[in-house]
């Protein structure tokens, strides 16, 4: 299983990366939305975890690009409190699930496993 992890906060990025690796995932990291979009065009992923607010391109733009590429990949979005409207937009664009920060990394793994089972 290959996961794309897009997040600009170093601690969150590294923590999720280690959690995913412990679960047997191979993880591709990116710290900005534009790079995430480029990676999506070039490579195939089984799962995407993306922050909503990121430099150069937002998580919403990543979802829009995914839709344009017609790739059906489960996407779990991370958002901060006060971004409820953006979260609704994300669901409209095909996000599979979202978690609001502060979030529990253990719960994130449970949700990912559930998402992949549904798929």
């Amino acid at each position: 299983m290959i996961a794309l992890l897009a997040e600009d906060d170093e601690l969150i990025l590294k923590t999720i990366e280690h959690k995913l690796k412990k679960e047997g995932f191979s993880v591709t990291l990116t710290r900005n939305g534009l790079e995430a979009i480029e990676l999506l065009k070039k490579e195939n992923f089984d799962l995407i975890i993306s922050d909503i607010m990121m430099p150069f391109a937002s998580g919403i733009e990543i979802l829009a690009e995914l839709k344009a590429l017609k790739k059906e990949i489960p996407v779990l979005m991370l958002s901060s409190m006060g971004q409820e409207e953006i979260v609704l937009e994300a669901f409209d664009l095909g996000a599979s699930d979202f978690m609001i920060k502060p979030f529990s990394p253990n719960e994130l793994i449970i949700r990912i496993n559930r998402l992949l089972k549904i798929k």
């Binding site: 601690l11 590294k14 502060p102």
Partner: protein, 355 residues
């Protein structure tokens, strides 16, 4: 008689100026070097702490937090301790569950609770605020009485942290600070506090009702948001009474709230008050009818579309009708009206925006 400036005096002046310029440049260089070193240190500390915290979180072990020799050594410096504290506070905002407990364990293991208490004795307001914030976020219950001593402090930053602490430690009862709040409760602070209140105790509507009569508009707006969050239906009559008494933002916030705690009378009551409302509130009512499926108000909306002189209200009415699946009515109306009729423009605009 005035003494003439000699060549020697001139040389001396130039020399003094050159020395001053030299001292200034030297000072600037020393300052820049120190800033550069500090920034480099911070970056190094950040990487070390990120890696340490990440490992602690991934390990999930609350009872056995490692005491890293390097971090203990660095903790002898006040600059590092404060940096460590800041990193922990910002990390606590990112994680919940076991990860959050791990961060609290790190906080105590590295004696950062002592550092936070020390900050409360500082003469600088931003450091006091940071100390309160740390003790609150790390749930140090024993600090609460000390934090309460800052309730009358003459600095907004400190007061915001005290308010947040009161709600974190005392839940709904911590909102007692609203009783006499004179300062504006900023939107961000409202969001922060609202997010911290996890439950609403039964039979507390009297207290909310009291705050709704506050002379501080930001308190009223905050309480309206709380009514929406906890869906406190028993305050519907009170809000209806308040509606004509307010203007501007409070009025629109009341309308938003009424739609959330809607009863079978809400729509009719809003229609009765409609002509007395501000334009912004009228738009809110019409928009709310569209979203809240007000099928019993179709005639009212049609009337607003055809007869209200305000173009913006017409657009909102057309959009609400569209939401209530009255597309055919809108299309037929568009066909029957004269092309130069201003309502046709509104209809086309509304339909285009929706399609």
């Amino acid at each position: 008689m005035e003494k003439a400036l000699t060549l020697h005096d001139l040389n001396l002046s130039i020399l003094v100026i050159l020395i001053l310029v030299f001292i200034f440049i030297l000072g600037l260089l020393i300052y820049s070097f120190r800033e550069y070193k500090l920034e480099a240190n911070r970056q190094q500390w950040k990487n070390k702490l990120d890696s340490f915290l990440m490992e602690a979180i991934v390990e999930n072990n609350i009872t056995n937090i490692p005491l890293q020799h390097e971090l203990v050594e660095l903790s002898r410096y006040a600059g590092f301790r404060r940096f460590f504290l800041n990193q922990l506070i910002s990390s606590e905002r990112k994680f919940s569950g076991v990860a959050s407990n791990v961060l609290q364990a790190v906080f105590h293991q590295y004696n950062l609770d002592e550092e936070s208490f020390r900050l409360l004795n500082s003469s600088k307001a931003h450091l006091i605020a940071r100390g309160i914030q740390a003790l609150t976020i790390m749930k140090v219950n024993s600090a609460y009485p000390t934090i309460l001593n800052f309730q009358q402090y003459k600095n907004e930053l400190v007061l915001h942290e005290v308010q947040y602490a009161m709600v974190q430690f005392d839940g709904f009862n911590g909102l007692a600070f609203l009783n006499q709040l004179q300062l504006k409760l900023s939107d961000w602070q409202q969001l922060r506090i609202l997010n911290s209140i996890k439950s609403y105790p039964q039979n507390s509507s009297d207290k909310l009702s009291e705050w709704l009569d506050s002379s501080n508009p930001s308190v009223i707006i905050f309480v309206l948001k709380m009514i929406r969050k906890f869906q406190i239906f028993e305050l519907h009559p009170k809000l209806m009474k308040m509606l004509p008494l307010h203007k501007d933002r409070i009025q629109t916030e009341i309308i938003k709230t009424l739609f959330v705690i809607e009863t079978d009378q809400t729509f009719d009551l809003l229609v009765n008050e409609f002509s007395k409302l501000t334009e912004k509130s009228q738009q809110e009512v019409i928009e709310g009818f569209g979203h809240n499926r007000a099928y019993d108000q179709l005639n009212f909306l049609k009337d607003q579309l055809l007869n209200n002189p305000n173009k913006q209200i017409k657009v909102f009415a057309a959009e609400a009708l569209y939401n209530l699946v009255e597309v055919n009515y809108l299309i037929n109306l568009s066909d029957t009206l004269q092309p130069q009729d201003p309502t046709v423009l509104v209809l086309n605009h509304a339909l285009q925006r929706k399609i």
